[in-house]
């Protein structure tokens, strides 16, 4: 049910996630924020088993923040991704694994490049130019294959993202009306309206 997308562009990463929290056939909340800000230049969209998701996402957020406070600088996106992947891999090999899928978008301030990582509950980690989780991915990935431009400015990136959202809204049976969209670039993290 959870839908999330992410795309990279020239110096930015856009993350979008639906805002519905559902319990059985009822939408319990319509403005749920499923994208956590882990650090000044790192965003994480989560989806999966309710309960597990927030528990794991908060665990990650607090540990990333702890690293940043203890040491003078925050973790780079690639290192944060490795740490999160290690946590998921260890969780998988425990009595009850976390069933959480993630999209991690960040801006590396040392190399001045944006990075996007697709992660699943098995501890799979891939560095990708665009990604999606959930049923929405069946529609989004083909569209992004066709329309994604890694050098596109932010406005174009948002337009491509809107295409994906519109397609999912049109064709998915359990489509979500509203999405939360956040951008991370050299200036940090901010929310945008599509």
């Amino acid at each position: 049910m959870d839908v999330s997308f992410a795309i990279t562009g020239k110096g930015y990463v856009i993350l979008a996630a639906d805002t519905t929290a559902a319990h059985s056939i009822i939408k319990v909340k319509l403005d749920e924020d499923k994208i956590k800000e882990l650090s000044p230049h790192l965003l994480m969209a989560y989806s999966g088993e309710p309960g597990d998701t927030v528990q794991f996402a908060e665990y990650v957020e607090r540990n990333i923040r702890l690293y940043q406070i203890r040491n003078l600088y925050p973790l780079r996106p690639s290192s944060a991704a490795s740490w999160i992947r290690r946590s998921l891999a260890d969780s998988l090999r425990s009595r009850k694994p976390y069933s959480v899928n993630l999209l991690l978008g960040g801006y590396d301030t040392t190399t001045h490049t944006p990075h996007l990582y697709w992660m699943d509950y098995l501890g799979t980690l891939v560095d990708v130019p665009f990604a999606a989780h959930g049923y929405g991915s069946y529609f989004a990935l083909s569209l992004l294959d066709r329309y994604h431009d890694p050098e596109a400015p932010l406005e174009e990136g948002l337009a491509v993202l809107k295409r994906c959202i519109d397609e999912v809204t049109k064709r998915l049976v359990v489509a979500q009306p509203k999405y939360k969209v956040k951008v991370v670039d050299k200036d940090g993290v901010r929310e945008v309206e599509l």
Binding site: L75, R76, S79, A81, W83, T110, T111
Partner: protein, 266 residues
């Protein structure tokens, strides 16, 4: 009264009546008799040099000629691909700390898939050393270390840590015997934008003035540099092998003169 003071001094976890930790001070005293280690930070790299105290004709140094990563000597060690460590003090304690540092660096690599930031490695060792001054009733490590390393955040860095578990960052510093003399020489001659070649020259000049022997040679000198590979932008740690040390000294004009070797063979 004297007996009471002595028994208090015996425990490392105890303050003296004047508020001092004697065991730590005694550890630093041990280090002041050890071979000098000198480090200089240049704008494009770092240079480490050390005086070996364990020398002699019967010493088997055949292992040092090839060496895995050129990683382990008596004074200078490769701690990780981006950090070289120089030690001064009790050799056995130093080996234990070097092993701990290497393990800590790999643990970081395992979790974060990145080279451990230099300051973080120094902190890990210092946390260990501090623990030995407060818990367990064990004596502190009688070792001071110099950490020469590179990371993407702060680029080239040089740190010094002592038995108390304190550390600080330096542009140029010295530990072990004659460190006062060496430190003043460095203070006079160091320039902020020094290049690595000038730093090598500076280090070798200061070493020749502070070392016991009259001429420098690979039997008494260990040498290492840390630079950045211009194409891959990755740190390049080079712990010089004995033959390379001699070649460098020849190039700098500080090596043994030909007359000396002639006299030896005749």
């Amino acid at each position: 009264m004297l007996i009471l003071v002595r028994s208090i001094q015996g425990r490392t976890t105890i303050f003296s009546p004047e508020g001092r930790l004697y065991q730590i001070e005694y550890a630093m005293e041990a280090i002041s008799h050890a071979g000098t280690v000198l480090g200089v930070l240049a704008k494009d790299g770092i240079v480490l040099a050390a005086e070996k105290k364990v020398t002699g004709k019967l010493l088997d140094l055949s292992g040092a000629k090839e060496g895995g990563y050129g990683g382990s000597g008596e004074k200078i060690f490769l701690l990780n691909s981006n950090v070289i460590g120089g030690v001064a003090g009790i050799t056995a304690d130093a080996n234990s700390l070097v092993n701990y540092a290497r393990t800590a660096a790999q643990k970081h690599l395992f979790l974060y898939n990145e080279d451990i930031p230099v300051e973080l490695l120094a902190q890990r060792l210092c946390d260990l050393k501090q623990g030995y001054t407060q818990y367990g009733g064990l004596r502190p490590f009688g070792v001071s270390l110099l950490y020469a390393g590179y990371d993407p955040h702060y680029e080239f860095q040089l740190y010094h840590s002592d038995p108390s578990g304190n550390y600080s960052g330096w542009k140029a510093t010295c530990i072990g015997a004659n460190n006062g003399t060496a430190q003043s020489l460095l203070k006079q001659e160091y320039k902020d934008d020094i290049s690595i070649d000038d730093a090598i020259g500076l280090v070798l000049r200061v070493m020749s003035k502070t070392m016991d022997s009259t001429t420098l040679g690979s039997e008494k000198l260990e040498f290492a540099t840390l630079t950045l590979d211009p194409t891959t932008k990755q740190p390049k740690a080079k712990v010089y092998r004995p033959a390379e040390v001699d070649a460098l000294l020849q190039k700098q004009g500080l090596g043994k003169k030909d007359e000396d070797t002639e006299m030896k063979t005749s």
